[in-house]
Symmetry: C2
Subunit: 225 residues, 2 copies
């Protein structure tokens, strides 16, 4: 699939060896996470809000609600749109070194710079809504009532092209100084994972409705505990 | 402990019933997470980077490295500092409704608006480094080699006062429309948790060094799986 072209702002000033522009890696990180942190500028100051997202090809759909600030600030095409930075971070481990200085975490992150525009076409909005639902719970959009026209109108979705994108990855154990290797402190990695617990039915759910298979089979990057 | 005063930008335009300014709630969210998303403005565009942080009283320390962009942009007092937004998000569950439209997630998030300045005082830097290490692994700073002067000089820490702060929380089951309650779709919540796996010793660790107690006892918000 190749790589994303680099730009001045996708080349880090530090830890360049951890940066990657590989499309397959970027897609895998974006597909494993489902909460992004959406950054934009309001009255000259930065704002960072968590929200749900989904990737479809080289587009990122970000969920919002009509009336929310980033949505009101991002017009639909041909509006110039809203400059955004979307960041997704997956934590894989805590890295304990002999020295306090070399403590770190293992992680995979993706940073997307771009312009967000509102999705207004009803068909594109439906595609985005299905993608958002299926991204969090694969298979779910086919097992829920689709949005009606009123709900579609009340849903706001931003789209950002994946063009200026970078990933950053740290893996492996601690990088202690040679002089510290003889110290008596334990050193290594504590793995971190996100897991799903047993599904809890809604209080008003008909007891005859069983938990669907797509909730009992482990999916993308998570493990039943 | 009371509440943080509200400002125009800490009052959400949507879902106001989910917003809170309670200091105890804000502190509990900040203390349970350890990765924040730091937003700042560079050349007029937003940048959002993941990094480690720790709370000490009403101060937030954010880890950086000398030479990184936000660090170079934030001077030490009396420099006016760098306008930042720091957001911490904890995901608690996936909310499955009968309708695609009412799908959601349960979460707790904190958004901090403020000004970041570099910590230059060596004693304050040591306090910050210890807090950062102990925040990720409680008890660890006392069981590792403290930073020496060279390492302290190579470490950059930003400090942000907790003054303009809000939390947002969603809990509970799906909020389906009454007309959808009879549909045959399963509805409810899938709990999401972050768990720690078994500690993996570094390849070069002396086999006689046992895993410390503070890694085997469950701590703050995480559960051994």
């Amino acid at each position: 699939m190749g790589t994303y072209p680099t730009t001045d702002r996708t080349i880090p000033t530090r830890s360049r060896e951890r940066a990657s522009y590989d499309r397959a890696l970027v897609h895998s990180v974006l597909d494993e996470g489902y909460v992004c942190h959406l950054g934009f500028v309001r009255d000259g100051a930065p704002v960072v809000l968590p929200t749900l997202y989904a990737r479809v090809g080289e587009r990122l759909y970000v969920h919002g609600s009509t009336g929310s600030r980033p949505l009101r600030m991002a017009g639909a095409a041909p509006d110039p749109g809203l400059a955004v930075c979307v960041t997704v971070t997956l934590v894989d481990g805590l890295v304990l070194a002999r020295s306090a200085f070399h403590h770190s975490i293992n992680y995979r992150s993706v940073v997307v710079h771009g312009t967000a525009r509102q999705v207004t076409d009803p068909a594109a909005k439906r595609e985005a809504l299905d993608a958002l639902v299926d991204h969090v719970v694969p298979g779910r959009s086919a097992d829920s009532r689709p949005a009606n026209d009123r709900e579609l109108a009340a849903t706001a979705v931003l789209v950002i092209d994946l063009a200026e994108v970078s990933a950053k990855v740290r893996t492996g154990g601690p990088n202690d100084d040679d002089a510290d290797l003889g110290l008596g402190h334990w050193a290594g990695v504590v793995p971190v994972r996100t897991v799903h617990g047993a599904p809890q039915p809604a209080a008003d759910l008909d007891g005859a409705i069983a938990v669907p298979d797509y909730l009992t089979a482990p999916a993308g990057g998570t493990t039943a505990c």
